[in-house]
Amino acid sequence: MCKLLVSLLCAALWGTASFAAGIAPKYASSPGLKEYPSSDVLVLSESREYTVEPDGRVTERYFKAEKILTYQGMDLVGDPLVPFNSETQEIRDYALTTYTPDGRVVGAKANSFNEMTPFELEKAPAYTSWREMVMTKVGLDLGAVVESRYVISDKRPWRKFFEKAVPFVYALPCLERIVKVTVPNDVALHWAFLNGDVKPAITSEGGATTYAWAVKSADGVDMAEGNRDEWLARSRLVFTTCPGWREANAAVGELTDGAVASGSEEINKKTRELVAGAATIFNKVQCIHDYVAEDIPTVEWPLGLFGFTPRPAAEVFHTGYGHALDKAVLLCAMLKQIGVEAAPAACALGIPGLGDVDAVPCLAQLDEILVHADVDGKPLWLDPCAKLSERSQRDFQDYKGLPLTVGYDKLHTMPAAGKANRLEANLRATVTKALAFAGEGTFVFSGGYTTFYEAQGSQDALKTAAEEWLGAVLPGADVVSTSVNLMAPEQVSVTVAFKGEAKEAGKGIHVLKTGLLHGSLLAHPAQIFRQKRELPLLLPFAGHEETRVSFELPAGLKPAYVPGRLSLKETAGSVNEAWSLDGNQLTMTTEADVPSRFVKPEDYPGFRRLCSSFAAPSANTILFTK
């Protein structure tokens, strides 16, 4: 109440900052840069209070007090965006008050609050009722504390269930973070605190029950370390008023089935045009999928905010854009036109260490949409927003999902790849006295490593893929020809003829380099330059890799340098590399084993050693001197 009074007083002093000696007493003893030298801003307190009314309307009350520690901090938190749906919600009682170290108290005026259409929705008229309120903080200074508050309330009941996934760790450290959810006594709240052990304080008053979760002194995490899957390792609260997956499925499945069924002659005509000339069912599916993935722009906005509500397929096609579920609906409708049964599913990565997505029937955490298509009796998984060459079943390993067609009552797990994850290459080359070389080799990609969707379809696609494979293991070499031994979704085997030369680098010194195989788990994982991580590193899958490269040298030619033996065993995996010179035969064999896709932060330095040991010039360079 005290905070509120001060804020209201400040808000009343439009344009007239008040002065006193030093920062407001309530923040005088708050910690600063000395205590948090690696932070730009310290969140002193943050609270979100959600109240569910008996008729289903929800009110969110938000408050944050944050202290600016650096110049970068001013820009980091200066202009936050608050999303709301102007059709169903109202944003009100917003205020910003800055308390500066020199005693100024600056209240934001009306011009600090600007409503805008989100960039992501500017080409999607159907979704422009969504807005973002920009709250521009004024009077900022080093050491200043800024209070932000707003209320978002539903104008009318519109939700089937109320649910959210709320992280408790963000980029900035926080002294106290509170989430409260109040529901009518006759509404059960299902919740789980994932990747942490925080229990709510539960109180009842006036026919409603309030659950309050509080975490003190949460460290910040450098979010740039990871991607959205890796962010799932943060502690988070998941809650819903939905009683079970059956009810979640019923709520969305019926809408989705109806949306798929709403075909149109426009869709039928386009489908016929797209598949004209395609020889097989798979080719037809691919033509349709490529079109939906590439030529129907994706509305990049969290599905949870859309309430997992798709527009009818006919409307999606007629307007020419859609969010992931819209696009899935259109894809299913088009596939049905060619006799392929298909249905969307809401998915998320479900592996230990990221939090159990099955713990609470909260659809909001399953924010990725995939489409299951039955092609010639075999399942084909499609991302409605990415072509198969960009994302395919190998990328969906360990996914869990809820089918969004009626009749399902539990999460399903993505079946594992049909073959073990294995990457192999065996190359032989003959080197001339002029240090040119030519030879051939076979690449075999199995299970998660499969390159089927990149390489199949055309000779051009195969040649481009082969150039990448060869360029990775023998940088600078050129593909002469390719021949396919096996081209199947779960395994690809291709023989490549090649030529190249050891390039001169320095006076009389010629360099022949080798490298890690294309797709190797040890080749350039994101952010591998970091020496340590706080988030786990998620690899695409676990796997085994073997390489053999053999050079027949001309008589009398001895390399000036050949790498030595390399053998490393870490918790996260192992690598072995050996070079041998047997007569004129110079042979490199490598073997790498990564037993788990989940690399814990404490195991990361060891994993980095595996990567860098292979990538170091001393491990992959042969030198000849003339």
């Binding site: 110049y71 159907a126 340098y561």
Partner: protein, 588 residues
């Protein structure tokens, strides 16, 4: 009217956006029609047009847009849209705009200007621009970068001018090319007679708005900042430093008068935020409070201003009259955490000062490459097993130093060390940052130094009696989009357009690499010297006192490099990289 040729093209036309500023302009979509490839015609109901707030970033002045939903287009379809607009998109005046059409009257009452491009990212079959002026209203007009068809005729309403161009190919953009306005066929027109007239208007409009009046709080702050400083340059640099770092770039609207009228200094002092003109306005206010004769100036960051008094400006800066008619320029927006008062990234650059006597269009002189020095000094030692350990000391001058400071002070606090780790990864993926330190990036009076101490297991290829290795300093570890923007231009192939770089540059890499006891250098990398009009490179490596000593100098001589001089830049860049890729050999 736009004809769609592919599905990918159709995907770009889900909606058509027409922008306007409700404070000073009006926009209406009169019609939208889809002409189907099979001959069908569909009218898009104008009732479906949405009136929405525009997406905004960093400047929040409340602009709006009319968003016209377009039904799905197919290859072969065309869409035609007719819009009517009145007024201007940026509000110029702080004056009392009246109701009705009064608010559409342009800031320079009775005057008109425009800059019109006759090329775009899509091919154009026909584009025409027509303007009707009263018979007694003369206009300056000139065409740049090509030819346009033109005509002048008259009617009862006045003189009718038209310019057009047919069959214009889509522009093929090139890395680091000059701005579109310096590359595409362009029409510039203005009814303003000359630059001094524009200069006097700009002066007056801000004086009339009392934009630079100060209050006691501002005066106290000025006195506090300049306390103890004797020299005027020093005082102004201190005030610039305060404004540049304490006035955050974020534009909130003062409603009427937004645009060429600067926010009052008193408002910016309280808000501690604004766009370039407000940041400039704050500095002008403080300079005036300190007793300096100071004016605002309009400038064009990133492109040329043609010598025709149209509004070709996107940025606002500060001019101090140090002697009658002699100015010193300050840019607080571009100089936070910088020892420069005017960024070398704005040399050369055109500007027009708003003064009471009226100024001609002026241009800042180019910055010599030596100003923008990047110096990387490596002191390292190799062990017989190939392990390397060493220290990089990185310093810079002017714009380069500013960018080194920004790399630190504009990064999140917990991202600085990973950034240095990323720099070191260029040396070797197995490089380990042992420690890192910088001098205070905020203290612009002290040269900025980044010190990285590192080790690299297995850096050199070690044999029983020899070592093969690359020179650490030559591995270009310092790289980011600002510091080394020339790299993208150097690696591009054939060019049709001039290159626009952030600044001239001189990069010096010095190495002292100690070899293990008893080892001598057998051969070092060889440098191919290049001295071209746009860039040069020279390098050398030798063996002295048990160490490999090398020095490389790479110079980018021009900020704007003509297209036909790009091969010289590429040759110098390739020579530098070849030196870095060269393998040195040492043995016992």
């Amino acid at each position: 009217m736009v004809k769609v040729l592919t599905d990918a093209g159709a995907a770009k036309y889900t909606a058509i956006r027409t922008d306007y500023d409700p404070a000073s302009s009006f926009a209406e979509v009169r019609s939208a029609t889809v002409y189907r490839g099979d001959g069908g015609v569909e009218q898009v109901p104008v009732s479906s047009v949405l009136d929405l707030p525009q997406p905004q970033e960093m400047i929040y002045w409340g602009p709006r847009m009319k968003l016209t939903p377009i039904p799905k287009l197919e290859p072969g379809d065309a869409v035609e849209i007719t819009t009517v607009s009145k007024g201007f998109v940026i509000a110029y005046l702080a004056g009392k705009a009246g109701a009705g059409d009064e608010r559409y009257i342009p800031p320079m009452r009775g005057h008109y200007y425009d800059v019109v491009l006759f090329q775009a990212g899509l091919p154009i079959v026909h584009k025409v621009y027509t303007i009707t002026l009263p018979k007694d209203k003369p206009i300056n007009a000139r065409v740049f970068h090509g030819e346009l068809g033109s005509s002048v005729s008259f009617s009862a309403n006045g003189l009718v001018y038209s310019w057009w161009k047919d069959n214009v190919p889509a522009i093929q953009r090139e890395p680091k090319m000059v701005e579109d306005t310096d590359a595409m066929p362009k029409l510039v027109l203005a009814t303003v007679p000359d630059w001094p007239t524009k200069s006097r208007w700009f002066y007056k409009v801000n004086e009339d708005a009392s934009a630079f009046a100060w209050n006691d709080a501002i005066k106290r702050k000025v006195d506090e900042i300049t306390s103890g400083l004797k020299d005027d340059d020093e005082k102004r640099a201190a005030l610039l430093g305060w404004v540049a770092t304490r006035i955050r770039y974020s534009g909130i609207s003062m409603s009427k008068g937004e645009g060429y009228t600067l926010h009052p200094g008193t408002m910016t002092f309280e808000d501690r935020c604004g766009v370039c003109k407000d940041i400039a306005g704050m500095l002008i206010t403080m300079f005036r409070a300190a007793g300096y004769t100071t004016y605002p100036a309009m400038t064009m960051a990133g492109a040329k201003v043609e010598n025709l008094p149209a509004d070709q400006f996107n940025h606002c800066v500060v001019a101090v009259e140090i002697k009658p008619g002699e100015y010193k320029m300050y840019d607080p927006t571009w100089c936070p955490f910088s020892s420069e008062i005017w960024s070398s990234a704005e040399k050369p650059q055109n500007y027009d000062i708003g003064s009471p006597r009226g100024e001609e269009l002026m241009e800042t002189p180019p910055a010599p490459p030596e100003d923008n020095l990047i110096r990387v000094v490596s002191k390292s030692s190799l062990l017989a097993n190939g392990d390397l350990q060493g220290t990089f000391s990185i310093t810079g001058g002017h714009y380069s130093e500013t960018n080194l400071r920004w790399a630190v002070v504009n990064s999140n606090a917990n991202a600085v060390k990973p950034m240095f780790e990323q720099w070191l990864a260029r040396l070797s993926p197995s490089a380990e940052l042992t420690s890192c330190a910088t001098t205070d990036p905020v203290d612009v009076k002290t040269p900025f130094v980044i010190t990285l101490v590192y080790r690299v297991p297995g850096y050199a290829m070690a044999t029983k009696d020899g070592l093969f290795f690359k020179l650490p300093a030559a591995q270009n570890i310092v790289s980011n989009r600002r510091l080394t923007d020339f790299a993208a231009a150097a690696t591009s192939k054939k060019r049709n357009y001039d290159i626009f770089l952030r600044a001239t540059r001189k990069c010096v890499f010095e190495e002292t690499l100690s070899l293990p006891q008893g080892y001598v250098l057998k051969s070092g990398p060889e440098a191919k010297p290049v001295d071209a009009a746009a860039a040069s490179f020279e390098g050398s490596a030798s063996f002295k006192n048990g160490a490999v000593v090398s020095k490389e100098t790479f110079i980018v001589k021009k900020k704007i490099i003509p297209a036909d001089e790009q091969p010289g830049l590429a040759e110098a860049w390739e020579a530098m990289n070849a030196f870095g890729d060269g393998v040195a050999a040492a043995s016992k």
